[in-house]
């Protein structure tokens, strides 16, 4: 699915003393099968932006086209759009309301009018997707730990099998293994379904190893839209926007600063390992 955002402005609290332009004339095109990370300082407008993608928020001005059709055109069925573009909220609590974990995850598929059998199958496979143990099925989602709630919220959206998957800080509150597993699952989903994925995150490490391109938002405007490598190559401007580079990248910049002839476009531990292994062990062997 192609999503075109044209001159999108969103104003909160119009007519009150706290009027705020959270998005200011934003235009950007997300192509079908893009895998995008969305980063930006606290309050930059990320959540506001993604909530427009499935019609939770309505533009104050500007348009959003889904495969060329205006989302708010009276001929567009916004309900259908919400089944195709799934959004996981920043706070899972904003999404959980049913009495049991099962019913919460089943909520979307039920609304889609699927059969009981299909719903059950989807709930169970969504739970597997997020690594939720089956013994939590009948528990109240409110009696779960923070990370477990987050997983239920993600599972609820996955169970709808949307064509476009939008996740607002999905790894916040997940333990490191769950974080890694989830990112791998999302990547797999992206490949297997030829879907489009947009992930909001404050973890530069997660972004570096997961997405292809990154959008940087600052003060309600889009500052950059570039491949991952180009984003992290510019540490100074990232830090001026309250952002950062992955820790592992800092190691190589420090080596370079000390006069070592080494590349600094090292954004993952995996790549760092391969590089250093060949430098340290490869050369040792040659000398011997």
């Amino acid at each position: 699915m192609k999503i075109e955002i044209q001159n999108l402005t969103h104003t909160y609290g119009a007519g009150t003393p706290f009027v705020k332009n959270a998005l200011d004339d934003v235009s950007i095109t997300i192509e079908d099968h893009d895998f995008i990370g969305l980063i930006g300082h606290t309050g930059s407008g990320k959540s506001t932006l993604v909530q427009h993608l499935n019609g939770i928020l309505k533009p104050t001005s500007g348009r959003i086209l889904i495969d060329g059709r205006d989302m708010w055109d009276k001929n567009t069925n916004i309900r259908e759009v919400r089944f195709k573009i799934g959004l996981v909220f920043q706070y899972p609590e904003h999404q959980l309301f049913e009495e049991t974990v099962y019913r919460d995850i089943a909520f979307g598929p039920t609304n889609m009018g699927l059969s009981e059998e299909e719903i059950r199958e989807r709930v169970l496979s969504a739970m597997e997707f997020v690594g939720l143990e089956q013994d939590l099925l009948d528990k109240s989602p409110f009696d779960l730990s923070g990370g477990q709630k987050r997983r239920v919220a993600i599972a609820g959206v996955i169970a709808m099998r949307p064509e476009v998957l939008v996740l607002d800080e999905p790894t916040a509150g997940l333990d490191p293994k769950a974080r890694d597993d989830l990112l791998k699952q999302i990547k797999k989903y992206y490949k297997e379904n030829r879907s489009t994925v947009i992930i909001v995150s404050h973890s530069m490490e997660d972004m570096a190893k997961t997405v292809d391109k990154i959008i940087v938002v600052k003060g309600g405007k889009i500052e950059r839209f570039l491949p991952v490598g180009e984003i992290f190559a510019d540490a100074e401007s990232l830090s001026s926007m309250s952002l950062d580079i992955p820790t592992i990248t800092k190691v190589f910049k420090k080596l370079k600063d000390r006069g070592v002839d080494i590349e600094t476009n090292v954004y993952t531990v995996k790549y760092a390992y391969e590089l250093m292994r060949s430098r340290l062990l490869g050369e040792v062997r040659q000398d011997a």
Binding site: P176, R258, Y273, R277
Partner: protein
Amino acid sequence: MKPFISFENLSFKYSEEEPRWVLENINLTIDDGSFVAVLGHNGSGKSTLAKHLNAILLPTEGKVYVDGIDTCDEEKLFDLRQRVGMVFQNPDNQIVATVVEEDVAFAPENLGVPPAEIRERVDWALEAVSMTEYREAASYHLSGGQKQRIAIAGVLAMKPKCIVLDEPTAMLDPQGRKEVMKTIRELNKNEGITIVMITHYMNEAIMADRVVVMDEGHVILDGDPYEVFSHVDELKSVGLDVPQPTELMYLLKGAGVDIEKTVLTDEECAEVLYNLLEGQR
């Protein structure tokens, strides 16, 4: 150092019917003025443990003492809550007033701090979390990270003897995360405030003096960061990780590179790699 907090044979479950303990026979003491990070996979019992510190939860078995107060002693509840300030995992549940600065002033007001001092503390706390410009904003209409900053400011303004933070930086941008960690460290070092911080970020845990690792309601590792993060396999087996520099060193060591000590930070890692590369020439 005298212990400020002690958990004595603490066991807990949320209801009688539950087959398993959420916390099982925890024995742990935390020294006055120390900075402890608590790690553990989702559902391992971290928040449950933290909620025992200001009597939101009471032990099913065993005892919890804070600054000599038995948390079960109802008459001392006010004294207890005056000593322990808590930043909950979900800042949304923590907002109590509609305007940001009133929200931050809420706890010190309750403690009977004089108005002039409240003003000072609120200004300082908002500054510490970079939210001064939002002082008059509506607290319910903030971004996720802004709410988290306000929740932190609220507890800073309380200036309790002990601050418990449950994943305080989960929704902050990298700059905000650094600022909050710096503020916490300063409160700990300069004012001797005891800090208990739950986190899923390994590079925050390394800033603590002591790291406690939980698994299924038990404490499985407890030591200074260098000690704890040398157990790479064990940490991974319980759903955790190590900082990126530590991971790189661990992998290289596994491949046969001669590395002895555990490194935690990018500086330490660069130093070791520099020496290795120099040694080759």
